[in-house]
Symmetry: C2
DNA sequence: ACAACGTTTCCATATTTATGGAATTATGGA
DNA sequence: TCCATAATTCCATAAATATGGAAACGTTGT
């Protein structure tokens, strides 16, 4: 995953409403949530929410599908995995960081991050 | 770690120059780096770099000490660990995310995140 | 005390981001 | 076809962020 891509994702998550929306989508799991449900849950006007969901979408953190008149937003776990992987490999000391269970077994530099599908 | 704290950290990292600066500091390790070295490495005018380092500092991602006329910036691994932990626990599906080796052993929901000092 | 150096603060400017009402675009049901 | 619903796009406005020259600040050597 490229740094620019990561920055987009971090930008997207670095905003209260969007982080809340994304967390809600993660919690909701594969069935996802519609904007109206989110709008209600997060108490955000539809256009504002729509704006934020678009940001998340452009950052690749969520996917959308349509079901009748409703849209279904679903968290993209692969993207999130990429972000966490990047941070772990590029922004953590060899073993001074990373939450305990999470030590990439001494791989050099960004080997793993570069192996994109 | 609180959501607001996390947002500050994500904001700080979600900017090209700052992410580059932080990565350089992580790479540099405990000895850290001075602004002039960073300014040179990243090709940023001193005031601009200073502004970004202040952002990182306010987000708690770096610490500063003085050595003579130079300041020494050092990455704060604990803070970074907190960020990665939060993302892993709040923004990942039960096991649908997190980079392979990094699975918090099935803890329920946000138990660990809530255990704040 | 003075000069040089490393760094920050001040400040004006340019750019980007967030907000939400009004209008608009899909979709499905009667 | 007409209406109601779900969501987005349009657009004006407000607010936050980034940039970098000039000036100021602390520290060290002379």
């Amino acid at each position: 995953m490229e740094a620019q891509q990561i920055i987009k994702a971090l930008e997207a998550l670095a905003q209260e409403s969007r982080l809340a929306a994304f967390r809600a989508l993660v919690k909701a799991g594969p069935p996802g949530l519609t904007p109206s449900v989110l709008s209600d849950k997060l108490d955000l006007p539809a256009p504002t929410l729509s704006f934020h969901l678009a940001q998340l979408r452009h950052a690749g953190l969520v996917n959308v599908t349509r079901d009748g008149r409703s849209l279904i937003y679903v968290a993209n776990y692969d993207a999130m995995s990429g972000v966490i992987g990047f941070l772990t490999e590029n922004c953590c000391a060899d073993a001074g960081c990373a939450p305990a269970s999470c030590r990439p077994s001494k791989e050099k530099n960004e080997t793993r991050a570069r192996r994109r599908a």
